[in-house]
């Protein structure tokens, strides 16, 4: 029993989102406990503006330290990381971040699929991945990889999403583990160990 429990503890929470996902995060972040016992990494499609004000904005909504990833930074529990604009975000086996400037996937860099797939290889069953509102199909292949390695795949309830295409695409192409609205997400995340 104990072993099983340890195996399924959350070692990393990934959140991927595109159009309409920022509003979700702005409502979700204040509902999260202040001392998350695992790291959180956000992959959001956004314009390549080169400014980092988004991480400041997100940081103002939570007591958990929040910042943009720097290359080769260690992945620490209790911290919320944001993938930098225009770079793919990858995970190394020693649990550090790597950045990558290779071609866009689904017209996106950062791509949610790329990050989810990379993390699934490192974190396996310790991974929980959440896919939010968006208008393209990025994320589904990533969620499938997460599940294949024993991790959990969660999507925003498309009925509550400003852009339901992305969560819908996942739901119609795989059996996701949970479909949640914002309050449901907060309860789910706060209950993760």
């Amino acid at each position: 029993m104990e072993e099983n429990h340890v195996k399924h503890a959350c070692q990393l929470l990934l959140i991927g989102g595109s159009a309409g996902s920022l509003e979700v995060l702005f409502k979700l972040f204040p509902l999260l406990r202040a001392d998350l016992p695992f790291p959180v990494a956000l992959v959001l499609h956004r314009r390549n503006s080169g400014d980092s004000s988004l991480s400041d904005l997100l940081a103002s909504k939570t007591l958990n330290p929040t910042h943009e990833v720097e290359d080769k930074e260690p992945v620490e529990p209790g911290t919320i990381y944001l993938a930098p604009a225009d770079y793919h975000l990858l995970f190394e086996h020693d649990r550090t971040f790597s950045l990558d400037y290779s071609e866009k996937i689904h017209f996106s860099r950062p791509s949610i699929d790329v990050t989810f797939e990379s993390a699934s290889e490192v974190y396996g069953a310790g991974l929980v991945a959440l896919l939010l509102s968006g208008a393209n199909e990025d994320g589904t292949a990533g969620l499938q990889a997460v599940q294949r390695e024993g991790g959990r795949a969660v999507v925003q309830n498309p009925e509550t999403a400003q852009m339901p295409f992305m969560p819908n695409h996942a739901i119609t192409h795989m059996a996701v583990d949970h479909v949640l609205d914002i309050v449901g997400m907060a309860n789910f995340i706060n209950a993760l160990e």
Partner: protein
């Protein structure tokens, strides 16, 4: 599914047979590129990719081109180029002769961007731009100076945002969907293969640009390369890295001073 041990075997082959050492590259990115190549070239298994690499030297060229990232653009991060224009080139302009090294230049979009900056600062005549990469096939593209015409609109916008005031299309001739950049720019570019993993310093430079290359290396290799740059820069020379790269944790950081928010450092000792 490709295992870590498979990657180790392939990287050992690459080194033993061809002298390319990718063992200290960031593994996550490298593995992703290899998986992608397997699917692009429709290898039924990893073993067959490995067999091809071991036994077909002509495939080596493609392998190296595909597993190293060669995505680049002109005037990428316009604020960076603006800073070069306004803060670095006026200082370099006080020298009788200017040597610039683009390390890991890939297909050369940044080299041509720099040549345009130099021309607009009236410095091109007394400058030389050294463009190096480990990959001979991308260097062919630098030599030609031909880029897809479809990208010129975006490049022109970035050029303007960097402080450019000319008509961007005056720098190239459009033909058959391609933009061929002026010989005046390319004749100042010296092209050579150079492998940052294994090769040493080959000249003394006033400015070294190596943007979005170090992210593909592990910490040890990053440190080696930064020492190589330090050894290749004259006093008060400049080093420019990608927007997510830093000197902060390296052994040479105390010898440099960051200029401003852009990732440009000045060598102070």
């Amino acid at each position: 599914m490709i295992e870590e041990e498979d990657i180790d075997l392939l990287l050992n082959d690459m080194y033993d047979l061809y002298g390319y050492d990718f063992t200290r590259y960031s593994r996550a990115s490298l593995k992703r590129r290899i998986v992608r190549l397997c699917s692009l070239d429709k290898f039924p298994s990893f073993a067959e990719l490995r067999y091809r690499v071991r036994n077909d030297p002509s495939y080596l060229k493609r392998f190296v081109e595909e597993i190293t990232v060669n995505v680049t653009e002109m005037f990428r991060d316009p604020a960076f180029y603006k800073s070069l224009r306004e803060e670095v080139l006026p200082v370099l302009g006080t020298k009788p002769f200017i040597r610039i090294w683009h390390a890991g230049c890939s297909t050369g979009e940044e080299v041509y961007s720099m040549a345009i900056l130099l021309k607009e600062a009236n410095l091109l005549r007394r400058s030389l731009l050294y463009a190096t990469d480990l990959n001979p096939s991308v260097l062919e593209k630098v030599r030609k100076g031909i880029f897809p015409l479809a990208l010129m609109k975006q490049y022109s916008e970035s050029y303007m945002a960097s402080g450019g005031s000319k008509d961007f299309s005056s720098y190239y001739t459009a033909q058959y969907g391609q933009a061929k950049f002026d010989n005046e720019l390319s004749e100042k570019i010296i092209i050579s293969t150079h492998n940052l993993v294994s090769d040493s310093s080959f000249n003394e430079f006033d400015l070294i640009l190596c943007r979005n290359v170090l992210i593909y290396f592990d910490k040890d290799l990053q440190d080696r390369v930064l020492k190589l740059f330090d050894a290749s820069l004259g006093t008060l020379g400049y080093l420019a890295l990608g927007t997510k790269e830093t000197l902060k944790f390296s052994a040479v950081q105390h010898k440099f001073k960051q200029l401003n928010r852009e990732k440009i450092w000045k060598k102070i000792m």
